[in-house]
Symmetry: C2
Amino acid sequence: MNIYDIAKEAGVSISTVSKYLNNKSIRPELKERIEYVINKYDYVPSAVAQGLVSKSMKIVAVMVVDIQISHYAAAAYAIDKTLSAFGYRVIICNTLGDEKNSIRYIDSLIKINVDGIIFIGSIFNFLNKYEKVLKKIDDLPIICNNGHLDTNNCHSVYVDDKMGVYNAVEYLIKKGRQKIVYVQYLSTSSSNLKCSGYKEALEKYGLKPVIYHTDDLMEGGYQVVESMLANKEEMDAVMCGEDLLALACISGLSAANYKIGSDIDVIGFNGSSFTNLSNPRMTSVDNKIEETSIKSAQMLLDVLKGKKVEDVTFPCSLIIKKSA
Amino acid sequence: MNIYDIAKEAGVSISTVSKYLNNKSIRPELKERIEYVINKYDYVPSAVAQGLVSKSMKIVAVMVVDIQISHYAAAAYAIDKTLSAFGYRVIICNTLGDEKNSIRYIDSLIKINVDGIIFIGSIFNFLNKYEKVLKKIDDLPIICNNGHLDTNNCHSVYVDDKMGVYNAVEYLIKKGRQKIVYVQYLSTSSSNLKCSGYKEALEKYGLKPVIYHTDDLMEGGYQVVESMLANKEEMDAVMCGEDLLALACISGLSAANYKIGSDIDVIGFNGSSFTNLSNPRMTSVDNKIEETSIKSAQMLLDVLKGKKVEDVTFPCSLIIKKSA
DNA sequence: CTGTTAGCGCCTTCAT
DNA sequence: ATGAAGGCGCTAACAG
């Protein structure tokens, strides 16, 4: 069933059908006949054929490291919801942080002529090293969430992670905490930024930074607590770079008979729903993943409409519950 | 840059270029000239134009309820990885369990002529009520994960959730547990199935079922524990329908001075990485989300190749750690 | 093996 | 307002 079939059965030309499909004014009588035939066969014009002409199939891509990480899942979810409400289809690419893999994805997206790409996370800044890749996407509408690419049509939405941690740590200090330990997950540019927020806050108040590292999002918190106990670390607060780490810290410290929220404070980072999974409930830095993702999607829609857009930076906010 | 430009500059006809692109045998000399021009301009043939002819743009869709639920994220991730290795692009649709929304997504996918759809979860069986929808996808390659649609080209991968719970409960009983409580999340057909596995196991051994319900994946475990304590529930084991519920149960029961793994056993369901986030580590029923997802993707690839495929059912396995 | 030609399904001038 | 015709970029017969 194509536009010719519809035209023939309705007794009009294909261009009249095309006009009907594109809401251009045609005689009411013809409109009715066309409508009748279209409904009869449940006809839907082929987006592929339309795409060949119009250069747009209304497909957008989201590049993330791993959709299994709740933070990225939340981003992908919010973007999908926002864009699909406007008829866009969303392709999610899990790059695993691998450069070759990311580039392969981009090539694949170019091939189908995607309308735009949203990159989630500063990790994708590595693409600036690849001139050839940049050239391929030079005019493509691009939104970077916490990052930036050197192309003609790239726009950014930032979150001030560093200030988020800074403020949380300052909150602890003003509460009277003096021995604040930081738990860092991996060492991406974003996680380093958070850590530097911690260091600057301590420095301002003349306190000594103590940092523990882990590469394990699930058990890392426990491993870190074990190290702390083994080191007989004197501490009255723990600032974690991820909610999941804080979750394990709370659990591990509780098991070691620390009273969370009184003996010791624990703060997480992300403001995820995991903050409700700890006992007591977790205070956390909300880095506004939902807002920034929606904003990214809206910016892309604006760019696609030809509107001017401006880069923005969102502040984090501290969501205080019981753990600090 | 299109096939005409390449042909002209290489001094050959477009069909020779087309043949080169499709690995058909051409004179080495021409091949070299074409290759040179293609590399010079980084030319990539348009999948849209190819799609118009070949009826395939190598795009596949995955329908899930919500990518933010780790179980679905794991499925989407495994499918994306498997299919993108074969050059397919994967569109993920978050239906939120809404019927109208699901149908809207399907229409959108038909419009771009997707090569196939993978449905994750029994919830999508509701589509069997909509004849019109079924008709639209009657010949489309479809794989249902734990479900089935009444179309010409639908194939299924099942997991025996019920037996998974049955075996876990039997394991508890054989360990000597007598007062086993079940915690059910929501009441979808799949969650009901799990619960019935629990009931049948208890019945076999002449024990009395006690079931707690919750609709909250995060705090639900705590709420249930509170109810249990308020009811002075006599119990020596808790079987949970979800790992996250078990996580909160373990935490809540620990706080109430139960010794997990000795006073009381707790088992989760999913075999997710959250089993490493509890203290002690969680015993859980692994419902093989990764295997079944990969299998679904492979089945789809086989169907697309024209191979015959057969429905399969995976058994769950009990992964024993410390909580039971 | 190579080139010519006719579609794939739709949109878009351009006359009418 | 309507219809005829050309073109979007590619594949697939069909001749040569």
